[in-house]
Structure formats: structure tokens, C-alpha cells
């Protein structure tokens, strides 16, 4: 079921955006894996086996992305995910990425929740700060042609409302997805937008540890 045709990693250092040069540049990374879509060209009612099969793919991608970014997991502060489905597939095929993609990064970054409960949509957290990667992993998906660009959202790994970490990365793979392919994407960043200054909840002020604030 899993055929990985191509993998593209992208790492960028942002030194400034026409303001003061950052003492330490913001590092953002994306990894995109191009897989054959086993459901291309037909309506397949039973697609959940693919979600399970994607589990190890997600973990491998998360580890590769962290390695390409060349920072310890502790320095990852933002994350996001996405999928671009080729023309012979449907949006629902991209939705298969929600659990394996999200859980892969959360596990890499120290999430201690119950994977099975999370898969069933019952991933309630304990009180206090149980671990890192408490926040939902934001996502986008689309059906698109080869080279289609996807704006993948990024938010803080522990609290979705941290305003300085709302960001997005444009990700595209030249030549993919072909009609019978899907591009699965993970993105991570090491900090806030390079000149973040629109107030709101700061990462240092996270207090509720409920994944939101």
C-alpha cells in the first residue's frame, strides 16, 4: 500500500524581513513525501487501512525533517502539516494524514498522550504540563496539479493561541503530485515570526496546558 516515490526536504534560515537582523535566525523546515495513491481513479469506501500504514511513514518523515533542520527536538516550537492530492484522487485521501502526520511530530517532540484515544478523536490531556506538543497540529489540504503550492499553517506546539507563532510555509514539489499520487507534508519551526510584534499570548505565558493557552 505504501510506495514512496520521492522525498523533498527544505530548510530555510530567515535572518530578517527588512527589520533588525535576528541574533539567531528563525529556522523553518518542510518535508514532502510523494506517495502513490492506492485509491486513485475510483471511489473506495474503505480507506482506513492506509491511515495505519502511514504511521511509520510519518515518524520517519518527522525524524528526517528534524535531522535536516539540524537542531535538537527541544528547539522545535512550531509545527503544521498538509497534503496535496493528485487529480485522480479525492480530498478525503488527503485527510488520511491527520492522525499519522500529527501524531508523528507530537511523538517526536515529547507528546505523552494515548495514541489510540487520539486516533478515535478522544485525545484528552491530563492537567498541568504533561509533556510537550500539546497543541493540535494545524493543517491544510487540497487537490492539485503537479507543482501545486500549499500554504501549510504553523502554530505553537504547546498552545494554539500563541500569537507570535502563527505562521505558514509555502510548500510545493516541482513535478508532483501526478494524478495518481499524494504529497504528504510536515513542517516545523524553531521560533516565532522573525519580527513578531502584534501582542497576544506569548509562549512564555502559557499557563493552562490544555493545548490552547
Amino acid at each position: 500500500m505504501i510506495e514512496i516515490r520521492r522525498i523533498l526536504t527544505h530548510v530555510e534560515d530567515i535572518h530578517h524581513e527588512f527589520g533588525p537582523v535576528a541574533a539567531q535566525p528563525l529556522r523553518r523546515g518542510a518535508i514532502a513525501a510523494v506517495l502513490r495513491n492506492p485509491f486513485a481513479g475510483r471511489y473506495e469506501p474503505e480507506i482506513l487501512p492506509m491511515m495505519d500504514a502511514l504511521g511509520p511513514v510519518g515518524l520517519d518523515m518527522a525524524q528526517r525533517l528534524r535531522a535536516a533542520m539540524d537542531v535538537p527536538a527541544e528547539r522545535i516550537e512550531g509545527y503544521g502539516k498538509g497534503a496535496i492530492v493528485g487529480a485522480a484522487g479525492e480530498l478525503e485521501h488527503g485527510a488520511l494524514w491527520h492522525v499519522p502526520g500529527g501524531y508523528a511530530m507530537r511523538e517526536l517532540l515529547g507528546w505523552k498522550g494515548d495514541r489510540n484515544a487520539y486516533a478515535k478523536g478522544q485525545g484528552g490531556e491530563k492537567k498541568g504540563q504533561p509533556a510537550n506538543a500539546l497543541a493540535i497540529v494545524p493543517s491544510t489540504k487540497k487537490v492539485g496539479p503537479p507543482g501545486a503550492a500549499l500554504d501549510v499553517p504553523l502554530t505553537h506546539i504547546n498552545a494554539s493561541y500563541v500569537r507570535s507563532h502563527f505562521d505558514a510555509m509555502e510548500v510545493r514539489v516541482p513535478g508532483a503530485p501526478a494524478a495518481d499520487e499524494i504529497v504528504f507534508i510536515l513542517v516545523m519551526s524553531t521560533g516565532p515570526r522573525v519580527h513578531a510584534r502584534v501582542a497576544g499570548l506569548k509562549a512564555a505565558d502559557i499557563a493552562q496546558w490544555d493545548g490552547l493557552r
Binding site: 510506495e3 514512496i4 516515490r5 520521492r6 522525498i7 523533498l8 526536504t9 527544505h10 530548510v11 530555510e12 534560515d13 530567515i14 535572518h15 530578517h16 524581513e17 527588512f18 535566525p25 502513490r36 535536516a68 507543482g147 503550492a149 509555502e170 510545493r172 514539489v173 516541482p174 513535478g175
Partner: protein
């Protein structure tokens, strides 16, 4: 460092399967890009020495980034290419000044040899403009299996007063090359051609 770098980007593109056939070992192409300020934006400047020395600096920096991203010894690099996208307030000659006089020597050092011409492309463009960086074997330009191109693009660059400079280094040719011609194992690698 004389160039003012706003962003530095490194990509690795690895192909494991092409047309349903396994590519073993996978082909890998690394792309490194710097988004820099164009010191001559908005005016005609006769002397482009500042851009020439920026090119020299970036040839080494971007070449080293590519080789590091591939995780290979410099000698194991197989093909290379370079390109530049000049923002609207600059001229094509600014790209030429970066790419041609001095970028090659430090790039060749990064890949250890490099007897062959470094193929190049250039254009003027706006934010998100894509450029296809041509690729050729680093020691013998006629190696047919290594003629290729890699698309380079930065979503938020070049601004009008910026230049995107791109270098690509690979550890392989095309995924399923099979159209004959000079093979990499047949080259002498002395004249840069065969």
C-alpha cells in the same frame, strides 16, 4: 561576508521510484539558495565588482551547503549548476556579475574537482518566480545521463531590490537514464568536455 543575506534555503530532492521502477540507489539533488540585497538596485552602475565578489563568496557558501545536505564527500558530487533571479529594480547584468566571473572557483573547491563548465540560467523576476537550474556532469559536459534541471523558487523573493542566487549539486544523474551517449564511467575528465 560582504553579501547581505535575508534568507538561506537548502532543499534535497530524492527520487526512489520513477515510472513505477525502483531507483536504487535513489537519485539526489541538493539546491541551496541565498536571498541577498542587490547593492545596485534602481540605478545604472558601470562597475559591478561588488557583485562579482558576492558571487565568489556565495559559490563557496552555497556549494558547501549542498554537499553537506547530501551528506557526501566532496569528490562524490557528480553534477552541478547555478542560476540567479534578479528583482525588478535590477538588471540581467547583475546576475551575470554574480554567476560568471568568480562563483565557479569556490564551487569547484566545494565539489573537489569540476573540470566542466558550470551550466547556468538567469532571469529577472518577481516574488515566487521559478527558475530552472540547468545541470551537467562536473568533469565532462558531454555526459548525457547527467543533463538535467532542478526548479528553484522562493515564495517571498526576490523583492525588487533583491537577488536570488541558486546552486545545485547532485550525487547522481537522471533517475532512469537510458538514452546512450557518453557515460560517466567513460570520461577522461581533463578537458571538461569528455
Amino acid at each position: 561576508m560582504t553579501s547581505k543575506i535575508r534568507k538561506l534555503i537548502v532543499q534535497v530532492d530524492e527520487t526512489r521510484i520513477e515510472m513505477g521502477k525502483p531507483v536504487d540507489p535513489p537519485t539526489r539533488r541538493a539546491l541551496a539558495m541565498a536571498v541577498i540585497e542587490n547593492p545596485f538596485a534602481g540605478r545604472y552602475e558601470e562597475n559591478l565588482d561588488a557583485l562579482i565578489s558576492i558571487g565568489e563568496e556565495l559559490g563557496g557558501l552555497l556549494g558547501d551547503k549542498c554537499v553537506a545536505a547530501l551528506g557526501i564527500a566532496p569528490a562524490d558530487a557528480q553534477s552541478y549548476g547555478k542560476a540567479a533571479i534578479v528583482g525588478e529594480a535590477g538588471e540581467l547584468e547583475h546576475a551575470a556579475a554574480i554567476l560568471h566571473p568568480k562563483l565557479g572557483a569556490p564551487l569547484r573547491k566545494a565539489v573537489e574537482k569540476g573540470a566542466a563548465l558550470v551550466p547556468s540560467s538567469k532571469k529577472r523576476g518577481g516574488l515566487g518566480t521559478a527558475i530552472d537550474v540547468p545541470l551537467g556532469h562536473k568533469d565532462a559536459a558531454f555526459v548525457r545521463s547527467h543533463f538535467d534541471a532542478m526548479e528553484a523558487r522562493v515564495a517571498d523573493a526576490p523583492r525588487a531590490n533583491e537577488i536570488v542566487v541558486a546552486v545545485v549539486v547532485t550525487d547522481s544523474g537522471r533517475p532512469l537514464s537510458r538514452i546512450g551517449g557518453l557515460q560517466a564511467n567513460e570520461i577522461k575528465g581533463e578537458d571538461g568536455l569528455r
